[in-house]
């Protein structure tokens, strides 16, 4: 279970408070106006931003002292999820070891996740030689291989077209969902996210609300959310 206890984040004049829990295995969307702090909240959970007050706990353990790479967290950013100078297989292999030379067993695991995301045989390509959708798939494959219990997605598919975005969200839910993984995903399109996220955290006015069932929330939004959704 992810718990944000009395969390307070500040960046210059910007401030965000969060006091909530997310159940293990849940897929939760973060929605809200741009600039409300959705990405900032993910950055704090991932360890890129030190909270001014409060704690981030995973299964009761305070993550406060841990560097981003030591947390039980895998993250996909808005862009730059693959190193452009490393091959797709090398990029994915970094989930296992910082040595570029993989053992036979490690190579097999990379090949397996490549297959899971539909990139069979493309491991030797450079990311620049892949389409945008294929790059997203490669990044998903790495997160899959990282095998962390908590996955944060900061709009990694924002640059894709609507059709491809839907497809990638479905693939994300398919390969990363289940197996007890908890997913937090930022979205600009609440109804799009609703398709895979059972619960939604609404972030606005300096506060991240506790997760609420997405269907109910969108069907009968509170005033602030109604204003954001535009009727």
């Amino acid at each position: 279970m992810l718990a944000l206890e009395g969390l307070r984040l500040e960046q210059g004049a910007f401030a965000l408070k969060a006091d909530l829990t997310v159940a293990t295995g849940a897929i939760v969307a973060l929605i809200g106006p741009s600039g409300a702090g959705k990405s900032t909240l993910l950055a704090a959970i991932a360890g890129f931003l030190k909270p001014v007050a409060g704690r981030v706990l995973w299964d009761g353990v305070d993550l406060g002292g841990l560097a981003p790479g030591e947390r039980p967290v895998a993250m996909l950013f808005q862009e730059g999820n693959l190193f452009p100078h490393l091959s797709v297989a090398e990029n994915i292999g970094l989930a296992l070891t910082p040595r570029l030379r993989l053992s036979e067993a490690e190579r097999a695991r990379v090949a397996e996740v490549l297959g899971r995301v539909g990139l069979d045989g493309l491991g030797d390509r450079l990311p620049g030689d892949l389409s945008g959708g294929q790059q997203s798939r490669a990044a998903l494959a790495r997160v899959l291989l990282q095998d962390r219990p908590l996955v944060l997605l900061d709009e990694p598919f924002a640059a894709l077209g609507p059709g491809l975005r839907d497809e990638m969200l479905a693939l994300t839910a398919e390969v990363l969902g289940g197996a007890g993984r908890t997913l937090l995903l930022v979205s600009h399109e609440p109804r799009e996210a609703a398709r895979i996220a059972g619960e939604t955290i609404f972030v606005a006015g300096g506060r991240a609300e506790a997760p609420a069932p997405t269907e109910a929330l969108l069907a009968d939004p509170p005033p602030a959310l109604r204003e954001y959704l535009g009727g």
């Binding site: 999820n81 452009p84 490393l86």
Partner: protein
Amino acid sequence: MSLRAPGLTAAAFILVLLFGTLAAVALRAEPGAGLAPADWAALRFTVSQALVSAGLSVALAVPVARALARRSFPGRGLLVTLLGAPFLLPVIVAIVGLLAVFGRNGLLSLVLGWVGLPPVQIYGFHGVVLAHVFFNLPLATRMILQGWLSIPAERFRLAASLGAPIGAILERPMLRQAVPGAFLVIFLICLTSFAVALTLGGGPRATTVELAIYQALRFEFDLGHAARLGLVQVALTAVAAALVWRIAVPDAMGAGLDRVVPRWDGSRGVDAAWIGLAALFLLVPLGAIGVRGAAGLADVPASIWPAALRSVSVALVSTALTMALALALVLRGGRLAFFAGVLPLAASALVVGTGLFIVVRPFVNPTVLALPVTALVNALLALPFAVRVLAPAHERAEAGFGRLADSLALTGTARLRLVLLPRMRRALGFGAGLAAALSMGDLGVIALFAGTGGETLPLAMFRLMGSYRMAAAAGTGLILVALSLALFWAFDRGGRVDARA
């Protein structure tokens, strides 16, 4: 291992070297002995030639930069690139080119002779200024051109549509910012320029402080006198560097100078004249280096080849040291590393050299250490430029991929190897190329330390010129330029070739 740790060692090394040699000079200076009249003359000459050189360079650069900013013509890109060339050109080689054009037997005197005028005399104050303008007019032009191109094109459009005076509302405010910085940087460069004064100056009326240090050490064997002059030079550059520090210095290395802002003012003819004159002033001496050098190749003595080997070895060692120090400083970041990275700009090679001379002399004959000391001092002098190239590349690498690396727990050497070095590859190649070319062309400390043998190519050239073997010197100059550019090209290319994405 933390990537920030080596930067502390690097900064300490640089500061100990700079301040340690300064302390050695200060202890040896016997301040009671005071300065001789000739020393005061050297001080006055140093300051006045630097003021005039910087003033002329900037004054001429303004119309040239304006013309380049608003005119588009075939070859413009090449010309702007060539404006960067004097930076890589060994000073002594440029002198050969300038002598071929402006010397007693040069092109200009030849033309003057046709109309019955006496030949021009290049040695002395105006020769030193001429050479400094040759080196720094292109630099000033690039800096001021950067200023011009930093004015958004829409503002020119708006001013033109309103019929507003572009000079008063757009250009003068920009120049008020760009010109003082450019002037001070060039003033500082001219204060510490040794090879120009060595070749074109000399004598009681055209000796700079650095040249006087060299003479005190090499000809008077008076370490105390050299040390006193060293303190004068340090005081001089410290004042100038403090002024530069307080002022925003425009960028001359920045990319994006290939843009032309469409304009609706100014005379085409006048702009063409400025561009044409500047190009001639730059290209004719460069051409002369090629022509005279090719003609002189046959006269080049065989002793040049060992000298070439020495020069290349010194340049490679110096480059390795520069890049190691620069990378360590850039990875560390912060104020101390920044300070250690820019301080060598204000250092005088001759003062550092004199300090090292004083330190090593009780133990070994300084001549033995001529090449290692040259490599060390060259590395120090190239360091600010390498840092300037690497720092933005490091920043970009961290901004683009730092969080991804963090989230994959890539720290220490794994981060360096897998993320930072590959992302900084182009900058590393370019920086190494600069360092190598600068070291190849250096004629400073080597002149202080070298014995009768053991010379590098620039020193060999200088000695050939000293014995009036001008053809051989020109031939050697061509070899020196070819080797410098080859090293620069090899490093720079190494950073680009096969650079994956």
